[in-house]
């Protein structure tokens, strides 16, 4: 795991108010099919055939060849078609937990050589290019693109990732109508409440999180784990 020192990040809806994030550890790459298969060996209740519908929609691990096995070529590719419940359980069994959205976004802000990627020439453009690239049928292996400032791989461009508190993003009309907490964030012109209007990839992540339920599975949604420092 990589240690991320105490610092701050700029939430999408917070104007220029950075949020402090305590020091923590985060996995250097997303959890792979191979790693998840090992977890299933000791936790057969989470296999495709056994998982309870409460904890994962149909489609859970549907890219695997069989109930307990992935395609060999995808051993080191990120595990996808995975629900929040399964991701949470996996991390707990490693003595870890899912990263909070704040922690995840703090790591995602990092460039290749500096902690603030937005100040690194070409970094935002690279993220945009990654975000608009369609996911290939078969996902490439983790850790093959380029590590960021903290030595963490694949925060951009490989898969979307679950966060512990993804359900803190309110959909419009659900909240007790407190102002400035995301209302109209995704409407035309709503981006005025965003601190960094160039951060289109962050918009996509927030929009995705606001649309997810914890049992959902997607072919380009995986996860990695974190731990307290």
């Amino acid at each position: 795991m990589a240690m991320i020192p105490e610092g701050s990040y700029l939430p999408l809806y917070a104007g220029n108010n950075r949020t402090n994030v305590a020091a923590f550890y985060i996995d250097k790459h997303p959890v792979t099919n191979g790693e998840f298969q090992k977890f299933l060996e000791s936790n057969p209740g989470w296999k495709r055939s056994a998982v309870k519908r409460l904890f994962a929609d149909e489609g859970y691990l549907k890219h695997w060849l069989s109930d307990g096995m992935y395609s060999t070529a995808e051993k080191n590719s990120p595990v996808v078609n995975i629900s929040w419940f399964a991701a949470k359980k996996y991390c707990e069994c490693q003595g870890k937990r899912l990263p909070t959205t704040a922690e995840w976004e703090r790591v995602a802000e990092a460039g290749w050589t500096v902690a603030d990627g937005s100040s690194e020439p070409g970094f935002n453009e690279w993220i945009l290019a990654m975000a608009s690239k369609p996911a290939p049928r078969s996902l490439p292996a983790v850790g093959t693109a380029k590590a960021n400032y903290y030595g963490v791989w694949d925060m951009h461009g490989l898969v979307w990732e679950w966060t512990l508190d993804f359900n803190s993003i309110m959909s419009t009309g659900e909240s007790r109508a407190a102002p400035g907490t995301g209302d109209g964030l995704f409407c035309a012109g709503g981006s005025a409440t965003s601190g960094d209007v160039s951060n289109y990839a962050a918009f996509l992540r927030y929009a995705l999180r606001s649309s997810l339920k914890a049992g959902h599975v997607l072919q380009n949604l995986g996860f990695r784990c974190a731990a307290d420092k």
Partner: protein
């Protein structure tokens, strides 16, 4: 007795689940899935039942509760926090409207449940004060757990919770109806909803039994 048997089984499972590498003592039970093969026959539940959750809850009467304990009667439930200034009293008022809409005989056949989304502040004493302030029938149940169990509960119910800097929360306003075997049978989204539809859903469940 049922609980004692279950804990014994849990202890056994924990000891036998050696193949999962344990880095920390406190996660020793995490690799075991909840056992339902108890010697006592439990009601058949589906893979969508909230009774599958293995979290433990503390009630406002200082008892412990597992969701399975709610088996046998439909449950009318909502997630709230007692320091909530506006929406939570409203959602409780909506639940009381439902209660008033039931006949005495129907009332006997359902449970009312409030689940705290604020486990840090909603200790049993604080929950008792809320129950008293809102003149809740002593038959209502109010519970809290820890942060992780609360998050898991929010996610099985599809409730969105956004913690705010002032200690409060933005949250979905939903009243959930569970059937007698713990599945979500109906959800009413929003506040100050006329209770005719939800009452008919509750009556349907009562009559199914």
């Amino acid at each position: 007795m049922k609980k004692a048997v279950r804990y014994f089984i849990l202890a056994l499972t924990t000891v036998t689940a050696v193949s999962c590498s344990q880095k920390k003592q406190e996660v020793s039970s995490c690799c075991s899935t909840k056992q339902h093969e108890s010697p006592e026959p439990l009601p058949a539940i589906s893979g969508k039942s909230l009774f599958l959750l293995d979290s433990r809850w503390e009630t406002y009467r200082n008892d412990t509760l597992e969701f399975e304990d709610l088996s046998g009667k439909p449950v009318i439930a909502a997630m709230i926090f007692t320091n909530c200034p506006s929406a939570c009293p409203r959602i409780v008022a909506d639940m009381k409207n439902i209660e008033v809409g039931l006949t005495a005989a129907e009332r006997e056949q359902v449970r009312f449940l409030l689940i705290s989304m604020d486990p840090k502040r909603d200790n049993p004493e604080q929950m008792r004060k809320f129950a008293s302030d809102h003149r809740l029938d002593p038959d209502w149940i109010m519970i809290r757990s820890d942060r992780m169990a609360t998050l898991e509960m929010a996610n099985v119910l599809g409730v969105r919770i956004n913690p705010l800097e002032d200690g409060g929360f933005d949250h979905s306003n939903t009243i959930h109806i569970l059937n007698a075997t713990g599945e979500i049978a109906y959800q009413q989204h929003g506040l100050a909803i006329e209770p005719a539809e939800i009452l008919s859903q509750i009556r349907r469940l009562i009559n199914q039994k």
